[in-house]
């Protein structure tokens, strides 16, 4: 079922979410609500449970609709934990919970992470670029952080863009 998305400055977006201990039907129901809500949010490549009011460590990321990037398809991630960060890059982000605003944020370019899927199977991933950014954005939600907390200058990048002619 599609749920309303909490929007800034709702204080519930600042709360830390709890680890999930039971992989049961109630979890699957919340995942389905996340799926339905993300599905009805055009352009969204991820969503985190606290954005629809559940303070549990569950996110969905799916950047497969973007052209020419490496990705792992549609991912449901429970208790995700980043174990390695490498490189830094500025990129532009927006958020379902912060309508009509985008800004520059620095994220790790490559990450390694572990996460369970919705059935309790532990998976490991190595990610880079856009997908790695999306995962970091969503995990921030689980820690009560928004991209607004990480904005860098709109005028000047901290790091030169790599894509030079």
């Amino acid at each position: 079922m599609r749920k309303d998305i909490l929007t800034y400055p709702d204080l519930r977006l600042k709360e830390e979410s709890l680890e999930i201990e039971h992989f049961d039907d109630s979890l699957l129901k919340i995942i389905q609500n996340l799926e339905d809500t993300m599905g009805e949010s055009p352009g969204a490549v991820g969503i985190a449970a606290p954005q629809i009011g559940y303070h549990i460590r569950a996110v969905i990321v799916d950047v497969s609709g973007r052209k020419k990037i490496k990705h792992h398809g549609h991912l449901v991630m429970i208790n995700p934990e980043i174990t390695k960060w490498e490189g830094l890059k500025v990129g532009r982000e927006g958020c379902l919970s912060v309508p009509d605003f985008t800004g520059n944020v620095v994220r790790a370019e490559k990450i390694k992470l572990n996460a369970f899927n919705q059935f309790g199977e532990l998976l490991s991933f190595e990610m880079e670029g856009y997908e790695a950014r999306a995962v970091q954005h969503e995990i921030d939600h689980l820690d009560g952080l928004l991209f607004l907390d990480r904005l860098v200058s709109r005028k000047n990048d901290l790091f030169k863009r790599k894509n030079y002619q």
């Binding site: 949010s41 985190a48 982000e93 379902l96 009509d100 863009r161 002619q165």
Partner: protein, 173 residues
Amino acid sequence: MPNWYMLTLVGIDKPGIVANITQTLFDANCNLGEASMNRLGGNFTIMVMVSSECDKQAMEEKLKSRCEELSLRFHIDEIEGKLHNHHIPDVSITVSCSDHAGLVAQVTNTLYDAGLDILDLNSDVAGTTSKPIYIFQIDGQAKNGIDALKKAIDPFKDQGIDISLSEIETLVG
């Protein structure tokens, strides 16, 4: 319904101008919208959207004495206050080269012809007095696609103008 105005202020920069002017506007029951302040060549400049129940003449009266105190010139335009309608850029372009007249016109006309809609532009004259360099950054929307822009800027490479273009893929999560 309050009226929307675009207030433009220009003067020699010194600390405290923003605090002073915004307090004056608040005391005059004005509400601020979006604003952009820049220091350009040592000058303080700001354009700020202001909403107020007052008409333009009353707005000018409210600002006159404070701007005189701060040695600022001001200008007020009646505008439509269209908020909550940001356009998201999909391309970022940085241009740098030795400073020469006509550079911005040359580059922006080329980009415009290739479909660029500029949403944001900032430029700086850096380097030294004897060897000035010009650097400008543009964020915009590539109406005809990124490849059209890449193709259009290619000839600049042979003219000593460095242009880098990168796609902005805004992530929404």
